[in-house]
Every structure is written in structure tokens, then in C-alpha cells.
């Protein structure tokens, strides 16, 4: 018996109370995050400088978009290990094909988004038609994409026009950095899709129980397919941002990003089994991970310690979740 009969009253709790009780852990996460930010601002003048805060926001864009994509995929009961390789491949192709020519910016960038969609469709087809579990499918795709990228070039290659660098990373609209605006748009759109469209509800239902979803007449395979396509499309956007940041095609552009995105999702309290979680949690996870990086860089702590701290944070947060559940 898994059901616990809580005291059942008819009316009572307001929507707000429900929001609080259903998202208690995420709210705790944000409270912790605010405290950490305030503490760091008091402690370090470098940290609290507005320049650094905007840098922090910029740094959160790529993991943010990938985290959002990964959240949707994990909510649907899947996982995508191929995002990092996709970022690398697109970075190489994009800079290689553009070769700093401004007139190629729009067509090549569009092509790159199509490449993203195609990679997602490929994953989706293998998962739905081939019935291969997402973990294995995307592991295979990751190798395929990585291999294709390295077949194209093993050394940094090409370049991008200044217009692309400005639009996707270095530019500002007023005092707002362009990539931050992009992240906010992606977040809002994806939040609307996941919480307010029937597709979004289907994602949660399929991830919660594919059998129940199927019996409720939900097109399970079409939902899975769409999830992978949309996820890889978002990864392609993140790849354009990464390319704009680097300025060239970098064979190491995406390294580690798939695990970072999954880490953010896990810290955000989304169940790896699917059906449960939210984008708000993931954003908290993304900010925490970015914050760790940022502070470590300011404090001149070496790379290895960053990883060590990240590892401790993940284990601690998930252990706390498990105690509460």
C-alpha cells in the first residue's frame, strides 16, 4: 500500500498553500540561494560588483537552456546524454561554415537549428520505433555526433561574424545582456508549454506512467518524439550561444555539459524516473552550479576543487530530498 491517508478535508487549503507544500524543497533551495548571494556580496566586493553579477547571469545562460531541455526530457521519462556532443558538433560546423562571413550568419544559424531538430528526431525515432531505452539511445547518438564533429576537424576551426557574437553573447539591450534575455524567453516559453498546454500535461503523464497515459488516449510515442526534437532544438540554441562566446569552432565546446545539465535537474528536485518536477527547481540548480564556478574563479580556487564542491552539493541535496520524501 503506497497511499497514506492524510487527514482528508474537503475544502481548506488554498492554491497558494498547495503551491508551497508541493514545492517546499524548491523554495528552500531558493532561500538558501538568496542567503548565499547576500553572504557572498557582504564578504566580497568583487562578487557584488554589477559587472560580476551580469557575468554570473551570462554564465548561467548555456547551462540554463540545456537544463531546461533536460528537465523536459527527464519529466517525460527519458534522458538525453547527447546534448554535449550536439553542442560540440554545432559549434564546429557553425564556425567552420560561416568562417567569419557576415552574410552567412542567418542561413548557417538556421541550418544549425535544423541539425538540432534532426538529431532530436533521430533520438526520438530510435526510442519510439526501435524501442531502445533513452539512456542507451542517446549514449549512442552522443558518440555518433562527437565522432562526426571530430571527423570534420580535430583542431579549433573557423570563426563567426561580429554580429553573431553580439546577438548571442556579448551584446546588450539597454543594460540587459542579450543572452540573458534569450534565457528568460526560453524559460518563459518552456514554462508555458510545460504547465499550460496539453502537450505539457502529456509530458508529465507519460513520464509519470506511460501505461496510464496510453489508456487515457494520450499519444505516447508522439509525445516522446516531440520531447526529443524540442530538447535538441533547445540544445542547438545553447550551442549557438556557446559558439558566439568562444568565437571559433571548438572541439571541446560541449565537454561535460550533459552531466552538468542532469546535475542541475537533480539538484532542482526533478525525479529521474520522470513525471515529477519543475523548471523552477532546475533554474535553482543551474544558478547554484554557476555560483560555485563563479566564486571559485574569483577566489582563484583550482578546477578540481570546483568539481569536488559540486559533487558534495549534489550528494547533500539529494540525500536531503530523500530524507524528506
Amino acid at each position: 500500500m503506497t497511499s497514506i491517508s492524510a487527514p482528508e478535508r474537503r475544502a481548506g487549503k488554498s492554491t497558494l498553500q498547495h503551491f508551497v507544500s508541493n514545492n517546499a524543497l524548491v523554495l528552500v533551495l531558493y532561500a538558501f540561494l538568496s542567503l548565499a548571494m547576500i553572504g557572498l556580496s557582504i564578504h566580497s566586493s568583487t562578487f557584488r560588483s554589477s559587472l560580476n553579477l551580469w557575468t554570473l547571469a551570462r554564465q548561467a545562460v548555456i547551462p540554463g537552456i540545456l537544463g531546461i531541455a533536460q528537465t523536459m526530457i527527464i519529466l517525460s521519462g527519458g534522458i538525453d546524454l547527447s546534448v554535449a556532443s550536439l553542442v560540440t558538433l554545432i559549434s564546429l560546423l557553425c564556425a567552420g561554415l560561416m568562417d567569419s562571413r557576415p552574410e552567412l550568419f542567418v542561413p548557417v544559424a538556421t541550418l544549425m537549428l535544423v541539425v538540432g531538430l534532426a538529431a532530436g528526431a533521430f533520438n526520438g525515432l530510435i526510442v519510439t520505433r526501435g524501442r531502445v531505452p533513452p539512456f542507451i539511445t542517446t549514449l549512442g547518438t552522443a558518440l555518433l555526433l562527437q565522432g562526426s564533429g571530430l571527423a570534420y576537424t580535430t583542431v579549433p576551426k573557423g570563426g563567426i561574424p561580429k554580429s553573431m557574437g553580439d546577438l548571442f553573447y556579448y551584446g546588450q539591450l539597454g543594460s540587459l545582456p542579450c543572452p540573458v534575455i534569450l534565457l528568460v524567453i526560453v524559460f518563459l516559453v518552456m514554462w508555458l508549454i510545460l504547465s499550460r498546454t496539453d502537450f505539457g500535461r502529456n509530458v508529465y503523464a507519460v513520464g509519470g506512467s506511460a501505461e496510464v497515459a496510453r489508456r487515457a488516449g494520450i499519444p505516447v510515442n508522439r509525445t516522446r518524439m516531440t520531447v526529443f526534437c524540442l530538447g535538441s532544438f533547445l540544445a542547438a540554441i545553447a550551442a549557438l550561444v556557446a559558439t558566439a562566446r568562444m568565437g571559433i569552432g571548438d572541439p571541446l565546446a560541449g565537454m561535460g555539459m550533459e552531466l552538468d545539465s542532469i546535475t542541475a535537474v537533480v539538484i532542482g528536485g526533478t525525479s529521474l524516473f520522470g513525471g515529477r518536477g519543475s523548471l523552477f527547481g532546475t533554474m535553482a540548480g543551474v544558478i547554484i552550479l554557476t555560483l560555485i564556478n563563479n566564486v571559485m574563479v574569483i577566489q582563484n580556487v583550482s578546477m578540481w576543487y570546483q568539481q569536488l564542491i559540486k559533487g558534495l552539493v549534489v550528494l547533500l541535496v539529494v540525500a536531503i530530498y530523500k530524507q524528506r520524501a
Binding site: D198, G208, G217
Partner: protein, 510 residues
């Protein structure tokens, strides 16, 4: 009479409000074959799970050979020499016979590696005792079901069990394999092993058992020598009722035919040549023993399981097999037997679960019209009196009865014209049961056609306008409300099982 090997005294066990066993006493003599019979839900499995240490009784005591024992875990029961063979076997498919028999107890050499020659000897011994031959090196997955059962029995024997419980051992066997099982059981009796043999096939009881105990609704109806009783008496003991419940009566007349099923078959589901008609506003009770194919029929009709042949017409339109979306569009709904696995997304809220089947109809432009959604859900919650702290409550935390109401609410939102309800009141409290009965009758009176699958005979006779009895994947008979008695239903359900011709059994096994 021989000495008592087992006494279970005044055993009481409740699951939440439901009393599964009420002051049950049961005893076996050493070296006898004791049959335990009763209809579905009578408490046989609960009693045996208590004996196997899987469940702990709320009250009562257990004595083995006169000595009081506590069987708080399966390991404790095993140590006391109690072995149980479940209907679903617990073999590891990729391991061989010897490894399965000695699972977790493989003998080791002094170096700490497995001593295979000793292992083969130890595994061979129980097989010799049973007088059967099996290749010790064959993988469990390559064995027939009957052979797998023998491995299970050997495994239990190698644990030095002198009391063996067999839960419906014949359910998985074909005719000729049954003889072998009987031989094995008789051999064990000769060796002084006590056997509790659970079955609902009564002719087996007469063939193999020394004594029989009948359970009904968690009470012992009696224990007798098999030689001193006949089948009719036994059926009457199983079926007779004293309980008294009120069912809502119909006020409306039954309408025209609505669902027509002709010659529906599915080899995968074991369904054969099913033909029947369901009328508008009718409640058709689908009775039968567990495994008779009732849930499978429901799945085939709703299109969530494969079908080989036959036609289904709903409201004069053909239903395509394997397409639940089309079945839904034509107004069909299936309230599944297992609500936690097939009916609810447990991680989601009452609101999301209730609107799940109609969510694509709630879209306005691109987004869901949440206000309309909440109105619809709220109305269902109020109509059905679902006790929940709010619409955002996660359904995992509701009680069984309220969970079942949410599943019903989900389907009622889609305004179905034909609802299949598979065990609609299983595991829910009496009060909610009565509410669900009232609701079903209301729906039928408004013209909805209902197929109700139930293992509770009282529910079947009380609610149905007409009753279809299934047995072994076939329709064994049809009874009108007037002619239906629990005895007649049981006779059809059990009788067909007895009378199944041998070649049928053989072709099912091949």
C-alpha cells in the same frame, strides 16, 4: 487421527477497514494432503501468506507439531520447515536448475569458490526424492512451466520443509502435466510431508486431497473428510451467503443493443470465440474465476491488447483492435482493475489526473483553459464527493476509495456511453462501495451501458441486469437477473473448468 502437524488458532487479519480473516482456525494432520478451497477473496491467500511469514496476523497463534511458534518473517517460516510454492514462480531465468534449487546456499570449497560436484549432489537429492528427472545444467528459462514448478518444489524440499503450501499449482498446468504433479504430491505424502493444496477446481480436490477446508468471506465454513462430502455440498458451502447488502434498483427500461461482440478471439490473451451483446442502459455483470479471461476481454475491447479475430461494433460503428483512442472517441471508457498502475499518475494532482483523458479538448488557442478545467474537475469532485484537501493534492496520498473515485471521475469527464469497470470496488471501504453502486445505477438509468467485472458474487448478483459467466477464456453461460444465483454462477465458472476437454488444454499448452 494422526498427530497435528499444524494448528492455526483464531487468526484475525484486517487490511485497513476490510477484515480478510475473522477468527479463522485451521489445522492439518502430519502427512496429509489438505485442500483449501473458497471463491476469490475468501481469504485463502491471506491465510497462507500468514503461514509463510509474509504477513503477520493481528491476532491468533500458530503451532507446529504442538509447539507455539512465531513466524514473523519468511526466513523464520522457512527455518521452521514451511515451504510455499506461489502461483508466480520465483526462479532466476538465466541460472540453471542446480543453481536455482540451491539459490543463496551453493556449497563452497575451502578456497571459497563454488564446489560444483557437491552442488550437483545436493541439487539432485530433492529431485530424486520427487522421483523426477531434470537436467541440472538446463537454464530455468528453457524449461516448461511444469518443469519449473518441479524446480520450485525441489527448492522447497532442499530447505528441509515438511509442510508445503501449494497455491493453485494446477492453474498453470495442462492435463497430462497434472497427473505428474499428482504423482509428485502423493510421493511427498508417502515421505511424511504435509501438503496444503489450494485450488478452486473441485474435481482435483476429490482426486488428490484427504481432507478439505472451505473458507468464505474470511470465515471457515467447515472442514471435512473428502470421502464424506459431495461436490454439490462443497459448492453450497463456498457460495452460500448470510451477509446482507442493499443494492440500488433500476427504474429505467433497458434500451437497444449498443455494443456487439462477435467471435472475438486472441491467442495471446487466451480468449476464444467471445460473442455477446450489451444494451443501452444495461449493467452486464462479467463473472468468473481469476484467470478466466475477464480483464483480458476488457483490454481487448478497449484496444489496449492484441486481438486475432472477431468483430466489435460500438453504436453501429466497427471498433479497430489495438486503438484505445478510437475506442475513446466512440465513447468507450475502461476503469482498470489496478488503479495504481493503470488508472492514476500517482505523482500528479487530483486536477491533472481527472482532466487527463479530456485535456486535448480543453485547449483554447494554444493554452489550456485552466478555469474551465478547474470548473469541470471541481464539479466531478463535488458530484462524486471525493474527499481531498484540494484539487492540487497529489493522488498518491488519497485513500483507496477516493483514488478509485478519481479514476471514475477521469472517465466520467469524457461523458462515455459505454464503461467497462474492472473490479470497481476492490479494496475499498463499505461506505464508498455503496456510493459507487449508486453512481453506476444512476449512469445506467441515464442510458450509459456498463460492463462490470467482479469477483464478488454478491456484487455480481446484486448489481447486474444480466450476467455473463466466463471460464477459461470462453463465455461459459449467460444468466438473467432472475435466474442468477451464486450457486449457478459458481457452477458455471467452476464447472466449465472441470469439463474442459483435454485437447483444448493441450493446444493451449503447445
Amino acid at each position: 487421527m494422526a498427530e497435528l502437524a499444524l494448528e492455526m488458532l483464531n487468526i484475525t487479519k484486517a487490511f485497513r477497514e476490510v477484515l480478510a480473516l475473522d477468527d479463522v482456525s485451521f489445522s492439518c494432520c502430519a502427512g496429509e494432503i489438505h485442500a483449501l478451497v473458497g471463491e476469490n477473496g475468501a481469504g485463502k491467500s491471506t491465510l497462507m501468506k500468514i503461514l509463510a511469514g509474509v504477513l503477520n496476523p493481528d491476532r491468533g497463534e500458530i503451532r507446529l507439531a504442538g509447539r507455539k511458534v512465531r513466524l514473523s518473517t519468511p526466513a523464520a517460516a522457512q527455518k521452521m520447515g514451511i515451504g510455499i510454492i506461489y502461483q508466480e514462480f520465483n526462479l532466476l531465468p538465466w541460472l540453471n536448475v542446480a543453481e536455482n534449487i540451491l539459490l543463496g546456499r551453493l556449497p563452497k570449497t575451502r578456497l571459497g569458490v563454488v564446489d560444483w560436484s557437491r552442488a550437483r549432489m545436493q541439487a539432485q537429492e530433492p529431485l530424486d526424492r520427487l522421483g523426477v528427472r531434470l537436467d541440472l545444467r538446463a537454464r530455468a528459462m528453457d524449461l516448461s512451466v511444469a518443469q519449473q514448478q518441479l524446480v520450485e518444489i525441489a527448492k522447497v524440499l532442499s530447505l528441509n520443509s515438511n509442510l508445503i503450501i501449494m497455491d493453485e499449482p494446477s492453474a498453470v498446468l495442462a492435463g497430462h502435466e497434472l497427473e505428474q504433479l499428482f504423482d509428485v504430491v502423493r510421493t511427498l505424502r508417502q515421505q511424511g510431508v504435509t501438503i496444503v493444496y489450494i485450488s478452486h477446481r473441485l474435481d482435483e480436490v476429490f482426486e488428490i486431497a484427504d481432507r478439505v477446508t472451505v473458507l468464505r468471506d474470511g470465515h471457515v465454513m467447515g472442514t471435512c473428510e473428502v470421502s464424506a462430502i459431495d461436490k454439490t455440498t462443497l459448492i453450497r458451502m463456498m457460495a452460500g451467503r448470510t451477509l446482507d447488502e442493499t443494492f440500488p434498483t433500476s427504474t429505467e427500461r433497458i434500451g437497444a443493443p449498443f455494443l456487439k461482440v462477435k467471435g472475438l478471439s486472441s491467442s495471446k490473451l487466451g480468449l476464444r470465440d467471445i460473442t455477446f451483446t450489451l444494451h443501452k442502459g444495461e449493467i452486464l455483470g462479467l463473472a468468473g474465476l481469476v484467470g478466466a479471461g475477464r480483464s483480458e476481454l476488457a483490454m481487448a475491447l478497449f484496444g489496449v491488447a492484441p486481438v486475432d479475430g472477431g468483430e466489435v461494433w460500438l453504436d453501429n460503428q466497427p471498433l479497430h483492435p489495438g486503438n484505445p483512442r478510437q475506442a475513446m472517441q466512440l465513447g468507450m471508457a475502461l476503469v482498470p482493475e489496478n488503479r495504481q498502475e493503470q488508472g492514476l499518475v500517482l505523482s500528479q494532482s487530483v486536477r491533472n489526473n481527472t482532466s487527463l483523458a479530456i485535456i486535448d479538448r480543453l485547449r483554447r488557442f494554444l493554452l489550456i483553459d485552466e478555469r474551465r478545467e478547474c470548473d469541470i474537475v471541481k464539479k466531478q469532485v463535488e458530484d462524486m464527493d471525493i474527499r481531498t484537501p484540494g484539487l492540487e493534492q497529489q493522488v498518491a496520498y488519497l485513500s483507496g476509495g477516493n483514488q478509485q473515485k478519481v479514476v471514475l471521475a477521469k472517465w466520467l469527464c469524457s461523458a462515455p456511453k459505454c464503461i467497462i469497470m474492472d473490479e470497481p470496488t476492490r479494496g475499498i471501504d463499505v461506505g464508498t462501495k455503496a456510493e459507487i453502486y449508486r453512481l453506476m445505477r444512476q449512469l445506467a438509468d441515464r442510458g450509459t451501458s456498463i460492463i462490470m467485472i467482479s469477483s464478488e458474487l454478491l456484487e455480481i448478483t446484486g448489481m447486474s441486469d444480466r450476467i455473463l459467466v466466463m471460464s477459461r477464456g470462453r463465455v461459459a453461460g449467460e444468466l438473467s437477473r432472475q435466474e442468477a444465483t451464486e450457486e449457478r454462477i459458481l457452477t458455471l465458472a467452476v464447472g466449465e473448468a472441470l469439463a474442459a476437454p483435454l485437447e483444448d488444454v493441450a493446444d493451449r499448452a503447445s
